[in-house]
Symmetry: C2
Subunit: 323 residues, 2 copies
């Protein structure tokens, strides 16, 4: 039996959107949901852990965590740490969730910083992008570790030797900031774990040559949200271009693509590198997005995903040390 | 009579793509073209200035400029400085073109750094985005000046009080890097020149609430190329979704939208803030992109655009000093 925790108090429309999501949610067999929320929303339909307070969406993260040790997301993370749940889903304050996860769960051994990992569609399949928002500024060694983390994620998903690219403004090794140039150099050293395919520009990302795209949390976040915005712009234009009957026929498919570009819907971003499965959804997630995130978490939990990441990371950091 | 200079040697497919473009080019009345290229491509169909050498696309910019003072783009910039041409179009090495423009033309008075300005479509009209690649790393005061520059561009285009936004990963004032937070604070000070509408996320950009989007050259470049990549991904998906007859009917419109997202095609990026009209096209510009860039340059030249930018910038920097 796997138990998936859901932070009922996180998100711009919490708990409304989350309570709606619960009505649509059908968990696979051998999974159950554990809700964490304030007493007023307690329901007997699910396991419910009462939290006396919660972190507001616009609160400064560190101050909030100091004052609110009993916030819903913190209680959820402690349940995860204690093995009482197998994954935690939250649409709450990103900074607070990342910081609390690091403090309560800790990082996987040897890892300097966790990163938010989102999967996006390309012409050839899914691409794991990290970091998409956990670290606004990073150094070269963080980028190199994100590559390891992304590769471990892909390997846990059955891709033997993932192809890793670095998001940059040109393909030449000298492009970008000094940290990007340094990361390029480090990643170019041969290893048996992944194949470094060099710098990738925003345009080429969607051709699908890479399995992992490495970037800092600021650029990655802009990248994802831009993809979402353009998809919405194009959808909007199509509405006026297509004859109504055609529009009706195509709309579901366009929306499906748009949803996949909307990273939180499919199936939320994984906080990769902390010692437990934490899924972060967009603050303004729809009920469907929450459902998808919970299902995604259940899938990861069923595969003992974190242990597999840890094993591979330990092995790779060992290999790295020998070089 | 306005004379538009074209650097025949710049671009991945130079001079082939450029010579092709010339065949399709129809300049408006009272405009003529001046080509700058090596002797072997000299033609009697246009005014032709022979350049003994040119900057390669992958050459380190500063080293190239030291060694090649007679490169085609440098000769073009000196013609512009001397008033022998009214605008210069180049698809050459971006770093070299930006550096040579600063050295030869100089910046508009009071401006610390020029920025590449591209126009992209939104749901409500065109948006001027800067910087899209001239400055990989910037400080808060550069961002503030980019806002002035973008606003001056919009005002020269008839928008009286442009709405300026800052590209960031959230709308709250405390989001992003310390330079972004500082820029937010400075831009929030009331002024009569533009309206600061705060941080804008990549997703909301395309809603079209802003006339100007301010960002650093790295993020701006990733932003534009991502927009282009997503448009291409969606176009690709549509090809397989639409019945052939519908496909044929819609394709031109989809491609038009895609072209507009492809910043170099429409109509190239303006190097805003140097003392002369310099248009930078993508290295891999199509002949049509080159044609559009030349027409865009002719349009700006016809409106004494640089003088208008200078006047407004001087006025605004005056206002700023009084605060």
């Amino acid at each position: 039996m796997k138990r998936i925790g859901l932070d009922l108090m996180g998100g711009d429309n919490a708990p409304g959107a989350l309570l709606k999501a619960l009505k649509a949610l059908k968990l696979p067999p051998k999974n159950e949901l554990v809700l964490i929320g304030t007493a007023e929303y307690q329901t007997s339909n699910f396991d419910y852990v009462v939290a006396p307070t919660f972190v507001e969406m616009d609160e400064p993260p560190l101050a909030a965590l100091r004052r609110k040790k009993e916030a819903s997301m913190c209680i959820g993370l402690r349940l995860l740490k204690a093995g009482k749940i197998d994954a935690l889903v939250s649409a709450g304050n990103t900074g607070a969730l990342v910081s609390a996860s690091k403090m309560i769960l800790g990082n996987c051994k040897g890892l300097l910083r966790p990163a938010l990992l989102a999967q996006i569609p390309t012409k050839r399949g899914l691409l794991a992008v990290l970091d998409v928002g956990a670290n606004v500024q990073v150094k070269a060694n963080h980028l190199v570790q994100f590559a390891l983390l992304g590769a471990a994620f892909c390997r846990a998903n059955g891709i033997h030797r993932p192809r890793v690219g670095l998001l940059n403004i040109g393909s030449e090794a000298m492009k970008g900031t000094s940290d990007l140039r340094q990361a390029y150099k480090s990643l170019s050293q041969k290893n048996s774990f992944f194949e470094f395919i060099g710098n990738i520009e925003g345009k080429s990302v969607f051709e699908g040559e890479a399995n992992v795209l490495v970037t800092d949390g600021f650029t990655g976040n802009v990248f994802l949200k831009t993809a979402e915005g353009v998809a919405s712009l194009i959808l909007d234009r199509f509405d006026s271009l297509l004859p109504p009957e055609m529009n009706q026929q195509l709309h579901p498919r366009i929306e499906d693509l748009q949803r996949r570009l909307h990273y939180a819907e499919y199936p939320g971003a994984l906080l990769a590198g902390v010692s437990g499965i934490v899924i972060k959804c967009h603050g303004h997630s729809s009920p469907q997005a929450i459902v998808n995130a919970v299902l995604g978490a259940a899938d990861l939990a069923s595969r003992d995903f974190i242990q597999s990441i840890k094993d591979q990371l330990a092995q790779q950091i060992g290999v790295e040390k020998e070089v």
